[in-house]
Symmetry: C2
Subunit: 511 residues, 2 copies
């Protein structure tokens, strides 16, 4: 068995031993239809009712306010649709944060498709939604506000208490997506609806929770049946529900002692990574964050290559958006934050993580990143023969350089930019032609990191897809680090491995 | 441990040992997010893909035509909504049978709520939809036809092959609800969509299957994510899916040898029950039926009392509609068939049922039914002292009798009718005033059983609820059996136990 550390609990937490035991027991006792009147049915009914009471206590709601759904996404879909339908008379304006889970974004798109309006609140660069932003977003015709308790990609905690207060004062219901935090503690504040997902705390997959507080206008979407107050059609998975609630109680107790330690380990990563890996940006709020989660992005690297390389070293992490990893889209969260998206690494530590494991990760990471950068044509700092060619990067060069990065995918457009910037004199302008989806995000982020001036971007004619753009960047007086690896790249030398072989989104693993 | 035989597999089948083993193994290997690229994710992905291929082979479809949903109801809801959306240009006419599972009925009501049209095909008295009925229902603007492979309450098999042929010829997609039959064999015919539910064959709850054949126009309802071809949003429950498919393979093999034996046991029940229990109607098709399921109804008895009494004797059976047991509605299936709904018993035998268990059931049943009838004021045939009072039932009596059964719930209105009929002379007419939901159904069924003439029913004025009706029945020349227990009832004697104590829908068991 090779070394293996699972640092991806923000995706899903391995089943808790307590969950496995409870599931097995409930498979014996609670397999029957709880609406049946024979003893097997009554037994299942008893287990379901007991689980509902226990979960309600852990959430801080009444049992009759809680419905068990088939997933956190279903809880969000139903919660949003039901609350919007219940407030239809008031208005059809839905307010969400731009960094919500994709299930909230999809529900919002469905609302727009039906003629509703959606307002997406922009976060700070830390991913945090300022309370004032919520206040400003509220209008007389606002039907619902959705705000996560903490972000699933960068760990930033949101001001749920303040938002709930603002919403309550305005008479607008607040739905809280508590998927990332319910396993660590109750969600405070006067929220109206809450959604959660059991596999995020070590319960089995296939169990979500939807809380609709008494007094909240709610019309469950059709079709509905009589199960779970009409909010989750279909035969209930009693054994999984029992296991989910048993796991929630167990992890809550563990979190009390574990979270302080995890917070320290994450602080170590936040502090050491920028020191160990050049051209790296640690994102997310450094203080108001989940204890176990940290995300950073590395210039001139793509996240998928990083995931594979770290996996070979025995570390399971994820990159970009947990929920768009199947698509060519960059993470909507990182995009909304305006931070570097290429070379993104999300580390989320399980409760039992040791300092040794974190140190091993910090030991492996620099080598892994350097290796990928080299493959992309960014040689290691020990230049050797390549230093001789540094002359080709003419710092006394021209005032206008245009780089054709059309057809190149991240991180290569930004690598081309870095190379070109080294060839113009201060005040000079580099124009990058690119059609990669994340080019603008990464070029802006590069300018932010390098303190260079992003001038503008214009669409290029003649591109049917309309993705091609010209990005203009002016070189400031600020020196671009002479050791910028990208500046050392031998012009014309194709990087090892094309976009296909280890490109950011090439995916030989999926059928 | 008291004697216990679970005869309710049509509600749900206890988890198959193979399912439990597979679930445990997959909890170890397949808990991760299958869209993740690290080894844990790839392992889950491999398990999911393998399960999909195995299930597709057992269903008889391509793996990429199969989506795993969170329940059979969800599979039906999504399948129907998606097929209707895909055919929107053709028309908005949905054709279903009147005896479909309630999930299909709910989906149809949702379609109506959105302005669509629904045609409900009436079954024969056996519950069977004649192929000609499907042909007649097809029109140029029909978007979709839904037909179950076999009925969940009476076991009658539907002509899926013929229906599929008719639909194919007309270019209309056919959706087959295979929930009750997929565990026993593949569904033949050129159907376009198929839905199933794993807990119906011993898989875990929380796993449904939706097949959409290539070439079938389909637009999955919003919101949708990228999982399961956009047809089942939410984090996939890989361990449960693996267990569901393992169970399907196992029960398929067992069905080969078991179904012949079960058919024989059901034939024994079908033959013996009417002999052992007077005034009983065995419903459903005697030949074209599921091998393990039989349903019968007993006059002057209510189903819920029967469920409780048989439960005390160690037999778990269900009554009425599996899916409306929580409501005051009588089974929509029995209603559509026009058969007696009161005193309904559905027996569905597990694979391992022995002849001894069936004999024990046949030994217990007559005593149980007699006991309930006695409580409702229908004394056992050994009349004794009561026979002396038989004179009060004047067969040479009047020509017009009106019975006030307002406020009485089934089976009492029909008991009152039986009593009154014994008091009018042939040609005479009895008018029953009743406001119970199933009164008309049961009075008509009683007339059918007793070969008496149902004249008409009129609404009664002065009932705000509008449920009160007057039902007129004419006594034919056909003798009403002199031993009709109801005719022996002492007039004016209140039945033991009011509607509350053991009424058909009083439910002290549920919170």
């Amino acid at each position: 068995m090779p070394y293996s550390a699972y640092f991806d609990v923000a995706s899903t937490v391995p089943p808790h031993p307590v969950a496995r035991q409870a599931l097995l027991a409930a498979l014996e006792e609670g397999w029957a239809d709880p609406t049946r009147l024979h003893r097997e049915g009554r037994r299942a009914r008893l287990l379901l009712d007991t689980a509902r009471e226990a979960a309600a206590e852990l959430i801080g709601c009444r049992p009759d306010e809680l419905s068990f759904t088939s997933s956190g996404s279903r809880a969000l879909h139903t919660g949003i649709a039901g609350a919007l339908a219940g407030r239809r008379r008031v208005g059809r304006r839905l307010v969400i944060s731009a960094v919500e889970h994709s299930a909230v974004l999809r529900a919002a798109e469905a609302h727009e498709a039906e003629g509703g309006t959606v307002v997406r609140m922009a976060p700070e660069r830390t991913g945090r939604i300022e309370p004032g932003t919520v206040t400003d977003a509220l209008t007389g015709d606002t039907a619902l506000v959705c705000l996560q308790s903490a972000n699933h990609e960068v760990g930033t905690e949101q001001p749920v208490i303040e938002a709930a207060e603002t919403c309550r004062a305005a008479g607008v219901p607040l739905l809280v997506d508590a998927a990332q935090s319910l396993g660590r503690g109750t969600v405070p504040g006067a929220w109206s609806l809450l959604a959660a997902s059991a596999h995020k705390w070590g319960g089995p997959a296939g169990v979500g929770m939807l809380v609709v507080r008494k007094g909240t206008r709610f019309v469950a979407p059709l079709p509905r049946d009589e199960r779970e107050a009409g909010r989750a059609p279909g035969f209930p998975a009693v054994p999984q529900v029992v296991a989910a609630v048993a796991a929630l109680r167990a992890v809550r107790e563990e979190a009390v002692e574990a979270d302080g330690r995890l917070r320290g380990l994450v602080d170590r990563i936040r502090e050491r990574v920028p020191e160990l890996v050049p051209d790296t940006e640690v994102v997310g709020d450094p203080v108001r964050r989940l204890p176990h989660l940290v995300t950073f992005s590395c210039l001139y690297v793509d996240g998928e290559a990083l995931v594979h390389a770290l996996d070979r070293e025995g570390f399971a992490i994820s990159s970009g958006s947990s929920c768009t990893s199947d698509t060519l889209e960059p993470s909507h969260v990182l995009r909304a934050m305006g931070v570097l998206s290429s070379g993104n690494v999300r580390v989320s530590l399980p409760t039992g993580t040791t300092g040794e494991e974190v140190d091993r990760f910090l030991d492996v990471l620099p080598r892994v990143v350097a290796g990928i950068r080299e493959r992309y044509g960014a040689p290691p700092r020990t230049g050797g023969a390549q230093d001789a060619r540094a002359g080709e990067a003419r710092p006394d060069g021209g005032t206008e350089v245009t780089v054709d990065a059309l057809g190149l995918v991240c991180p290569r457009p930004v690598i081309e930019l870095a190379r070109a910037m080294a060839r113009v004199r201060p005040g000079g302008v580099v124009t990058v032609l690119a059609d990669d989806g994340v080019a603008e995000l990464d070029i802006r982020a590069w300018c932010h990191l390098r303190e260079q001036e992003f001038l503008d971007e214009k669409p290029l004619g003649g591109d049917p897809a309309g993705a091609a753009r010209a990005y203009r960047v002016r070189r400031t007086e600020r020196p671009i680090p002479a050791d910028d690896p990208a500046a050392r790249r031998v012009p014309g030398t194709p990087p090892a491995g094309g976009p296909g072989s280890a490109g950011p989104h090439g995916d030989g693993l999926r059928p």
